[in-house]
Subunit: 118 residues, 2 copies
DNA sequence: ATTGACCCTCACAGCGCTGTCAGGGCTTAT
DNA sequence: ATAAGCCCTGACAGCGCTGTGAGGGTCAAT
């Protein structure tokens, strides 16, 4: 399957598909004329990438995490050391949430003040 | 007070103080020799900027919001139209939180799978 | 053979800050 | 007058993607 088709199937832009390849996340074969040629496995990999990205991982992190995940989203053996990475990631998310909840407090405080002033 | 002193007092880097000026958030006087000369009022303004920034506002937003806030963090009259802006901001924060909570779900799902696989 | 739709690579731009460096003046004390 | 320490402007770099454009092949149908 050529890049345009994959892009439509996956909802990932052509630009990004090429970028994923550049970063080593996808490695499609090439046709004689140099066109990228993706197979079904590649599509499944792409779904995994989207999943990991939706968990807030950047591409560097995904790159090390990716080999550890099967298409059905379960993890297999040789990746025990990634538990730490996962905990780090969760910690980052928690910190982000804490920050946002603080932001929200400040904003709501403003709103309260406005309504009590006018 | 010169920029270095303000930087230490406020905890804001010299680079950022100059940037705030460039963006119109601070307007210090100048000495005869061209040095920035900040007064106490400027320091108070800076505290307000920090507060707004901690609420997740970017400088563009702060720029329109700033004139509406007194040093004691209360809002005054002529800024009613900013209620919308505030609601928008809160909405953005809520969306961000929702996104993060989804991320966390995905991550915890991974963790669960790892622990049930090994 | 021509056209249109698709593909290729390379590379610049932009987000919203923030650091850092270069090249140069000012101030104060010795 | 010399040195240390501060200040000035201007400009480039980097984060982590993502879009877009240039310049140029390929493929399928007509």
């Amino acid at each position: 399957m050529k890049i345009g088709e994959l892009s439509i199937k996956s909802g990932v832009s052509i630009r990004m598909l090429r970028y994923y390849e550049e970063r080593g996340l996808l490695t499609p074969k090439r046709t004689a004329s140099g066109y990228r040629d993706y197979d079904e496995e590649e599509l499944r990999t792409l779904e995994r990438i989207k999943l990991l990205a939706s968990a807030g991982m950047n591409l560097n992190t995904i790159l090390v995490f990716l080999p550890c995940i099967r298409g059905d989203q379960h993890v297999f053996e040789p990746c025990d050391e990634l538990i730490d990475l996962l905990h780090d990631q969760i910690k980052m998310v928690n910190e982000e949430v804490a920050k946002l909840s603080h932001s929200k407090t400040v904003l709501e405080h403003f709103l309260y003040d406005i309504e009590n002033t006018k």
